[in-house]
Homo-oligomer: 285 residues x 2
């Protein structure tokens, strides 16, 4: 019987703190502001964007949405970002992924002001994280939420063997850096990895972000492992599930995140917390 | 019987190319220039600096040394770097490590212009590398040299299990990024790692950068592994050696670097090549 990592409850507590910090800033005349740039009409992106907007409003934050059609020009998107970079009411800028193929996502990312880069994608922020530099800089929100959860549930990372399955810039890579900085021994695996399950079976902490429903079954998990499921997938039945077969893995894990109610709520709560951080950091120089 | 990775020979060939490229630039009126900032009188740093200077002169490059006493002020070092940032004759800036403790090494690194950062330490360069962004940017020279050697000796990295022992910003971390980008499955281990030899015995490619003489013996290496030794250590006898016990490991390895004559010459040859790269990149916008 594993301990269930209750991301929903943890997010609730974090949101309460964030709301309080936002109110304190507002009392000083500073309303933290978040701007989302949304291109096209991907249904999932629209849901994510709406969820962010609703939570931001509930936190008392300013939340603006900039929508562009699928065939928007690169220059138009860059101009919008530059305007937001210079807008003193905006502390956090998100460009919702995925972007249409004709847009240069790298050039767009690199245009966001590093101190408003709430997704932690700008190379300067990613480089500082990778180098474990001191100081304040944003970190991708899913990894940030996972680290908060691991700490809250007293998972000892020093010397732990951690395996991350998935190498994305929003999840796998920043997690790799955060966990290395926490003195874990981390392996990042992807679709090229040979004998993946032999590797995952060695993990004290297994983090899965493949986007493939039930990619990890019981035979891929070590007895007593901590299992973090970043997936948000649909089974053919339409039921929402994760990259981990929860029912099969839960009996052998020591701690495990459910889907939904695990990593997802912590991601969006971390986004709100980091928006308030950015508002504070930018004003404190 | 392992194939010996002949870094000395490989460096010779690379230096020949670099010299040719430098001559072509000089014929166009551009003499690539490298500036080394050296603080204090660490004997090893003085040797490294002298070796860089001699090779640069032999390549036909401009090579300047800026020496400061151990008790130099932070502001003096920063001012020197800013001057070099704006000096159009300087393409590559090195601040020789280690720096005295009273200096803020992070602030110094972050002051170097990213497009003159020949050691690849600036967070913007490190972040681009970690994100696997396209385009031209400098990469730390020891990792760059190791990648050149692995490619030259036809080491297949796709899906290979690679273990890096050592987590430094000049070696372990950029190597981790480069090898991830080459679709290897990489684990970076350090002094917190539990059961390190169990881990190293699983490596198809083992890279060791601990600074501890003969840290890796035969029992720590898988049969047929490729072994890269970044160490440059002295035995009590005074003899120069590596982090790998070469005589013990060579019989089980498939390919192995000697010390000296392996990674060392490739590092300095890569530094020269990258100085010419920087001169070309900066002038081609």
């Amino acid at each position: 019987m594993a301990t269930i990592i209750d991301g929903k409850q943890l997010a609730k507590e974090l949101n309460k703190q964030t709301q309080k910090r936002a109110q304190e800033l507002i009392a000083k005349g500073v309303k933290p502001g978040i701007a989302v740039v949304l291109v096209g009409d991907d249904p999932a992106s629209q849901i994510y964007t709406r969820n962010k907007h609703r939570l931001a409003e509930r936190m008392g934050l300013k939340s603006d949405l900039y929508r562009f059609p699928t065939d928007v020009k690169q220059a138009t998107v860059l101009a919008a970002i530059k305007k937001l970079n210079n807008d003193d009411d905006i502390d956090a800028i998100i460009v919702q992924e995925p972007l249409p193929n004709h847009l240069d996502a790298v050039a767009i990312t690199n245009t966001i002001r590093p101190d408003k880069d709430v997704d932690g994608l700008h190379p300067q922020n990613l480089g500082k994280l990778f180098a474990d530099q001191p100081g304040n800089y944003p970190v991708a929100c899913t990894p940030r939420g996972i680290m908060t959860a691991l700490r809250h549930y007293n998972v000892d990372l020093t010397g732990a063997n951690v395996v991350i399955v998935g190498r994305s810039i929003l999840v796998g890579k920043p997690l790799l850096a955060l966990l290395n900085n926490a003195n874990a021994t981390v392996t990042m695996a992807g679709r090229h990895t040979k004998d993946l399950h032999r590797l995952t079976r060695q993990a004290d902490v297994l983090i899965v972000a493949t986007g493939i429903a039930h990619f990890i079954g019981q035979d891929a998990v070590k007895d007593g492992a901590v299992v973090i499921d970043v997936g948000m997938d649909r089974l053919p039945s339409g039921k929402l599930t994760g990259d981990v077969d929860f029912d099969a893995v839960e009996p052998v894990a020591s701690k495990i995140t459910p889907v939904p109610g695990g990593v997802g709520p912590m991601t969006i709560a971390s986004l709100m917390a980091q928006t308030v951080d950015l508002a504070e950091w930018r004003r404190n120089g």
